[in-house]
Subunit: 240 residues, 2 copies
């Protein structure tokens, strides 16, 4: 039995009861070392199997293999679908007869970070990863244009890394062709972890923010506003 | 103190520990009657205050008012940001001095339903509500076009109701101008509740599905495929 489990931000309170149960029932917990390190203090009695970055395929195959004879959980940060391992596991599943697969959803960064910023994601929302490791840059650029044109609230995952320092700036420049430089934006660092912080700024200011791979970025729609220190997208209820 | 709490699908296992704690700490739990009915069996010792549909403004004001002197939770299905009450509460907050506000995120239907269908939401995703009660139809139509053009996975909330029987069909017809009728789609009814069911179909078939307000609809991107009985969007990992 293989559970592919969304652990949310990494704060224990952010996990669902179903995720907690899946981990408790597992003989092994498998995951990328950053995420196993987050879970170890919560489940000290469990065995963990950790692997490095870019070893996604091996990690999924190992999990499917163990799942043939044991109960195991493969953990993903946030939700196990979104930029996670669930799809890859389904792609290989038939090669591992006997393994049953269950996806246990989790709170993805868009929502755990949004709750810190205020309520930016009240209305129609787009989530885009700026990482071009697995997606051609032309496709990302086209999606940014479509998202900006559609006046969606936009959430950017993987906005930058050491080798992609200017990606967030480039994304802002594309969106600035459709939206005002005054558009209310925000970003959250290290959601639910040590060093958690958030900031609200304008789209013009966001251009100059140095994000990293633990930053989640929010670009408001044309109606998003700053209320006090919070980023809020109204839905359009008649006021009374 | 006012917690605005995402209860997820309504299945207790789908709630986060933080949501559970907020409800346990509250003197009252306030919500739309469908959601209070879901929570009552889990928290039999708690007092509930329920209100009807389209009374969102009154419900939020009442919650903010109680929050001045007591600890209360206002519950929303899924996540309290997305088409939920969190933004409205921030809009009125300054009228209720003394009320502290905390948004407790939850697993929104897109993800809890996605996990049932397989892993449709692996890649860049758009969430759009087809309800035109609070959003002009021209805006919804433009967003559908942008989402389809961007080759996003599309999740539709509120795809139909008694008075909007043809909205899902119209949305499919817009998307069919950009995507193949063979595009892999799916829909989930009553996620996490009695009568839960899901179905995978083509975009051409989705046109003829009679959805209701408890249905969540998924339209795959150009790479989404059916694997066994599951809807899976690959992310593009090199296979090994």
């Amino acid at each position: 039995m293989l559970y592919i489990v969304g652990i949310g931000s990494g704060a224990r309170d952010c996990m669902t009861a179903a995720a907690e149960k899946a981990l408790m029932q597992s003989d092994f917990i498998i995951g990328y070392k950053t995420y196993t390190a987050l879970m170890k203090p919560f489940f000290p009695q469990k065995s963990f199997l950790e692997s490095g970055m870019r070893q996604e395929t091996e990690r999924v195959r190992l999990s499917l293999q163990y799942g043939q004879t044991q109960t195991v959980s493969l953990i993903c940060s946030g939700d196990p679908e979104l930029y996670g391992m669930a799809a890859l596991a389904y792609e290989y599943l038939e090669e591992y007869p006997g393994t049953e697969l269950e996806v246990v959803p989790g709170v993805t960064a868009a929502f755990s970070g949004g709750a810190l910023l205020g309520a930016p994601l009240t209305h129609d929302t787009v989530i885009i990863s700026l990482s071009d490791l697995l997606t051609p840059m032309e496709k990302i650029v086209h999606r940014l244009r479509c998202a900006a044109d559609g006046d969606f609230v936009i959430v950017l995952y993987n906005p930058s890394s050491k080798t992609r320092k200017d990606y967030l700036r480039n994304a802002c420049d594309i969106i600035l062709k459709y939206r005002s430089p005054e558009t209310v934006c925000g970003y959250v660092r290290n959601i639910g972890r040590e060093g958690e912080s958030y900031q609200i700024c304008s789209l013009a200011e966001l251009r100059n923010v140095q994000a990293d791979m633990f930053t989640t970025v929010y670009i408001g729609n044309s109606e998003t506003k700053k209320i006090g220190e919070k980023m809020v997208t109204p839905r359009g209820y008649p006021h009374a």
